[in-house]
């Protein structure tokens, strides 16, 4: 056994719970006992520090994940993968490719639906992607896939701020009922997408950079965060809005009936 493998096993054992149940050397992480299966898998990713292949078996069907640094780098293989699932295999997860991230989440979610038993085994990693591509943290995926985030260790709460914290996240959260789609990007990295985001993604790709550049001549840095609301800007009748707070940018589609509520919320969070 290599030094790295030994260290990985020791770290895994240290992270383990005294109440863990093992079955043929694999740890049982969900047992039809009401524990959310996707969250259980993300918890396993969150427990993985050194690069490992996590062999997840869902009622006997296998998915091999590559995880490192408490991040999911991607899906290596999956039993019976076809169609859309096949397109995810071997792809490094990146917030810049939300379709791949969403497809991976959908695949795992579909396989977990109604699962009676899920086990995970930590194995030496297989070659995957390019060294510099880190994947997405378990907590980040919990946000992107709309599952409860792994619970942070006490020390981590202060050492690493939540990826989706801050005024922008609060604004999006408190106005969720008004928003039909959102894209939240921080410093160029996708933090969260929700709803039918395809239209927003096109707007982002084709217009946002130019709009911000053109609009910047009318903005004073002392004005602080900006919210721009455009009624009827989308073909389905929804309004569009863009919020900018430093490195945080959100593009939103919203029901115009909620405009007043959104303005009030923005004022209270940014003034």
């Amino acid at each position: 056994m290599s030094d790295l493998s030994a260290l990985a096993e020791k770290l895994s054992a240290l992270a383990g719970d005294a109440g863990d149940v093992f079955e043929d050397g694999a740890r049982v992480i969900a047992n039809g006992d009401g524990r959310a299966p996707v969250k259980a898998i993300l918890d396993a990713v969150d427990d993985t520090v050194l690069e490992r292949k996590l062999r997840v078996e869902i009622d006997g069907k296998r998915i091999d994940l590559i995880a490192a640094g408490r991040r999911l780098r991607g899906i290596l293989t999956a039993d019976g993968a076809s169609g859309d699932d096949q397109s995810v295999m071997g792809q490094v997860l990146s917030r810049e490719e939300p379709e791949v991230v969403a497809a991976a989440g959908k695949m795992i979610n579909n396989r977990c639906a109604g699962a009676k038993r899920i086990t995970v085994r930590s194995l030496p990693p297989d070659p995957f992607g390019v060294g510099g591509e880190r994947g997405i943290s378990a907590r980040g995926l919990a946000g992107l896939w709309d599952v409860a985030a792994p619970e942070p260790a006490v020390a981590e709460t202060t050492a690493e701020p939540a990826e989706d914290g801050g005024a922008m996240a609060q604004f999006l959260s408190s106005n969720a009922a008004a928003l039909t789609a959102t894209m939240h990007v921080n410093n160029g990295e996708m933090i969260k997408i929700s709803g039918d985001y395809k239209t927003l993604q096109n707007i982002w790709n084709e217009q946002v950079l130019q709009f911000r550049k053109s609009h910047s001549r009318f903005l004073d840095p002392a004005d602080g965060p900006q919210l721009v609301c455009l009624e009827g800007a989308l073909e389905n009748g929804d309004a569009a809005a863009m919020a900018v707070d430093g490195d945080d940018v959100a593009l939103m589609a919203y029901d115009p009936a909620h405009l007043d509520q959104m303005l009030t919320s923005w004022r209270s969070l940014t003034s």
Binding site: Q210, Q226, C229, D260, T270
Partner: protein
């Protein structure tokens, strides 16, 4: 008179500083409320911002369609731009404090613009 309409609207809303009737096709402010202290350069900027956020010549700067109503809100001020559906080159630009009833002012500004154009016809 256009200025009377603008003054009357300004009186209705606390925190409303400037109301300006604009021609987006030439990007010129034609009339402001009588109490406005904005200098010409600031008025030109206001009109240029209106043309940008509302979109011009059928092309939206942001979104799939040009909009007839845009709001830019920050901690110091709100700028409201409304465009006439009947006369897409005519718009009303408003500057107010962030605590102003923005949704109310936007609705009243749209009605005010309609009245101005009706009286002008």
């Amino acid at each position: 008179m256009v200025v009377d309409e603008l003054d009357a609207l300004r009186e209705k809303f606390d925190g409303c500083d400037t109301l300006a009737f604009a021609d987006l096709s030439t990007q010129m402010i034609l009339v402001t409320n009588s109490g406005s202290t904005l200098r010409r350069e600031a008025l030109d900027n206001l009109c240029a911002e209106a043309a940008l956020v509302l979109g011009s010549k059928g092309d939206p700067a942001l979104g799939q369609n040009p909009t007839n109503q845009a709001i830019v809100l920050n901690k110091r001020a709100a700028r409201i731009f409304v465009r006439s559906a009947a006369e897409p080159s005519d718009a009303l630009c408003c500057i107010c404090g962030p605590e102003t009833d923005i949704a109310g002012l936007t609705a009243e500004a749209t009605a005010c613009l309609d009245r101005i154009l009706a009286n002008d016809a």
